[in-house]
């Protein structure tokens, strides 16, 4: 009991509450701007957290973390540009809602979803942490390679009615992710290796510039086509309430609970990231709504399609903390920086944290709760104001988006000017490619997912074969990886069957 009270008092005092609020605001700004990631924000706040007590420092960083994850959905919904990779799946229905004049509702739904996801995963973190941590340890290279495969095939089937186009785009994303240096043997995998060996190309294409280019710049160019219409979205419908009613939320219970589960689990497996989680939950929600009569079909611009990925990506925050606190192994790059704040203060997360600094664990729980509450509060006010961006004429908005996209790509390596300028170029070129692909009705998300999962797939595939002494059958002998292979086969074959049936 004493550690619980200690943790409570460490967080619920004026200074710490103010710090969390500050971190939250900063995080939301950070998340909504392209190129500024949660990891970067947390790393930026590290020096400040050194000067605070352990609990207060963690609280500040957790505020930034939560804010950044939820902030990313704002540009995804309003402009079709995800602020960071966590919000890729939100673009589909979010942007469609904005085009229907329902931006406020989409944002409101996203905020509620973020809150539910955050709190849901916090509850899982508090109750089942040791169990989930043990579960994540089952994921070795073979399992993770197959999980990446699931992510790649699901996105191919989710994002377009046409599977072959999804697969082509996913493969294209893979080729982009494979550019650069081989992670195992340092072979250069770039065209004309002699020429480009010491240029930024040798370290490959960065995810964030690619994301910004493919989604942001291409969308800005598409918007320009409608410059005659004046605004990028039709006049927004005036509504009294922005937030979904309780009844509506209750009707979505299955989607919400499943997304919490998916988000927490995927978040807890180190090195996987939120992008698989959001697409898995989107795919699951699609299945749920297809069977239900009360819910809207996904993809047409409905609240369900915003809620599912937003619940999932906020559930990832709690999930990522599970292995971080219980094993000392962060679930993603943001939690890695969070942990270093503890390590520098001489607290070793993992075994020692629970045995010697239990109060700190409770403090982290409280801080996470508090940051979710603040997220809800600040976004509540924001939801009314953010859609005003849509009343800026295209002639002005598009140049601003273009500059923001380029500076955002630049910012990701903002200290390395040469590499950063290269990133701007990457974003621009991929933006043009993405523009033409969108005109041909090719899905964009599989490219981004290919870039995200390509490295994970290749590394773990090769590592698994190496660990199995050159035996390629290893993927079929382990139960989890076998299950994943079956799952990804189903997600490819099922749409084909459905297509055939429809065609007949």
């Amino acid at each position: 009991m004493a550690p619980l009270i200690e943790g409570f008092t460490q967080i619920f005092n004026t200074q710490t509450i103010l710090l969390v609020a500050m971190g939250e605001v900063l995080g939301i700004i950070l998340g909504s701007l392209p190129g500024l990631t949660a990891t970067m924000g947390i790393a930026l706040m590290l020096p400040i957290s050194f000067k605070l007590s352990q609990a207060a420092g963690m609280a500040l960083l957790l505020g930034v973390y939560c804010g950044a994850v939820s902030g990313a959905s704002i540009p995804a919904i309003l402009l079709g540009i995800p602020g960071n990779p966590n919000a890729i799946a939100t673009v589909y229905d979010g942007l469609a809602m904005t085009q229907k004049g329902l931006a406020g509702q989409a944002l409101g739904g996203a905020v509620i979803a973020s809150f539910l996801g955050g709190i849901g995963s916090l509850i899982l973190l508090m109750t089942f942490s040791p169990l989930i941590a043990r579960f994540t340890l089952l994921f070795g290279p073979a399992e993770r390679a197959c999980l990446a495969l699931v992510g790649l095939t699901i996105i191919a089937s989710v994002s377009s009615r046409n599977l072959s186009r999804g697969i082509l785009m996913g493969a294209f994303g893979l080729t982009l992710s494979l550019l650069g240096t081989d992670p195992f043997s340092s072979s250069l995998r770039i065209p004309f290796p002699r020429l480009f060996a010491k240029t930024p190309l040798s370290s490959g294409i960065n995810l964030i510039p690619a994301l910004i280019g493919l989604f942001g710049i291409s969308q800005a160019l598409l918007d320009l086509e409608r410059i005659k219409e004046g605004m990028i979205a039709p006049k927004q419908v005036k509504m009294e309430r922005f937030f979904p009613s309780l009844g509506k939320i209750v009707r979505m219970w299955r989607i919400i609970l499943e997304s919490i589960g998916i988000g927490t689990m995927i978040g807890a497996i180190p090195g996987t990231g939120a992008s698989i989680a959001v697409f898995l939950s989107y795919e699951r929600a699609k299945k749920v709504t297809r069977r239900s009569k009360k819910l809207n079909q996904l993809g047409s611009g409905c609240l369900e399609g915003v809620v599912a990925p937003e619940v999932a990506n906020n559930a990832v925050t709690g999930g990522a903390l599970i292995p971080a606190l219980s094993l000392g192994i962060p679930g993603d790059s943001s939690t890695a920086v969070l942990l270093s704040a503890l390590l520098i203060k001489g607290v070793v997360p993992g075994y020692q944290l629970f045995s010697q600094n239990l109060y700190l664990v409770y403090a982290i729980f409280f801080a996470l709760f508090l940051s979710n509450v603040f997220m809800l509060t600040f976004q509540y006010f924001g939801v009314k104001w953010f859609p005003r961006v849509l009343s800026v004429p295209i002639a002005v908005l598009v140049p601003v988006i273009l500059v923001l996209s380029m500076i955002g790509s630049y910012a990701i390596q903002g200290r390395a000017i040469l590499a950063a300028t290269f990133d701007m170029g990457v974003a621009l070129i991929l933006g043009v490619i993405g523009y033409f692909l969108k005109k041909g009705d090719y899905p964009i998300a599989p490219i981004v997912l290919g870039i995200i999962l390509g490295g994970m797939f290749e590394e773990n595939f090769r590592r698994a074969v190496k660990l199995a002494e050159g035996n390629y059958l290893v993927f079929f002998t382990k139960p989890i990886s076998l299950a994943f292979i079956v799952l990804s086969l189903i997600s490819v074959v099922l749409p084909l069957l459905r297509q055939r049936r429809r065609g007949a």
Partner: protein
């Protein structure tokens, strides 16, 4: 026009996959660290596989994709095409000149030019003087505000150090002060100029947008989030 844009893209990807497969066979294959027995599938395995998947799916799209469902999207008008081209061209110039000219100059010119031309239906050569005047004014206005900001920060720094008031040497604090002073100047300028010219002046509009956007991005990315935006020719 027998080739829809979708099949054209598929064709491009067929060519790309062929090149990619050739390229992936040309990758030098080095041994993984400590892999004496050759158990590692090697650097080429995944690229080659991906290349073939890409080739197969693009071939499938090119041959099998139903041709009847052509996009019935309306054709883009030539003037809209021109607008897109101008935007793209300027974006490429922006990237190329960013390191040389620096963030402040590039961004002001970029935003001003695009906001100016995006709003004009038919571009004529006689608009050039007006455009250039506006461009100069916009650039000077941005530079002025930027320089003032730098001046204040610098002054605060040295003053803070000489008087040992650590608050002034705190970068966040000085950024905040600078922000408020500059925001005030900017708003006063907007207000005054609107007063002077009662009619909705179209020429001033892009100038203010350009200056405002440049300064805000500089403040958020450069000052708060510490991105070292290229300085270029503006050395101070």
């Amino acid at each position: 026009m027998g080739l829809s844009i979708r099949r054209l893209i598929a064709l491009v990807f067929i060519a790309f996959s062929v090149f990619y497969i050739i390229f992936s066979f040309s990758i030098e294959s080095r041994r993984m660290i400590g892999d004496e027995k050759g158990w590692d599938p090697g650097s080429r395995a995944i690229p080659v596989g991906t290349g073939f998947i890409m080739l197969a799916s693009s071939l499938y799209i090119f041959t099998k994709e139903e041709r009847k469902r052509e996009e019935n999207k309306e054709k883009i008008k030539p003037e809209t095409k021109r607008v897109i081209l101008i935007n793209l061209l300027l974006s490429f110039l922006y990237v190329f000149l960013f390191r040389r000219l620096g963030f402040i100059l590039c961004t002001t010119v970029f935003i001003y030019t695009l906001v100016y031309f995006n709003r004009i239906k038919n571009v004529q050569i006689k608009l050039l003087p007006e455009y250039l005047t506006g461009l100069t004014a916009g650039t000077i206005f941005t530079l002025l505000i930027y320089s003032l900001g730098r001046f204040i920060t610098r002054y605060l720094y040295s003053w803070g150090r000489s008087t040992d008031i650590s608050l002034f040497t705190n970068s966040n604090f000085s950024a905040g002060i600078t922000f408020f002073i500059l925001a005030a100047i900017f708003l006063i300028a907007v207000f005054l100029l609107k007063r002077w010219r009662k009619n909705k002046n179209h020429m001033l509009f892009p100038i203010f947008i350009a200056t405002g956007v440049t300064e805000i991005i500089y403040l958020v990315f450069g000052q708060i989030f510490m991105v070292s935006l290229a300085k270029g020719v503006i050395f101070w």
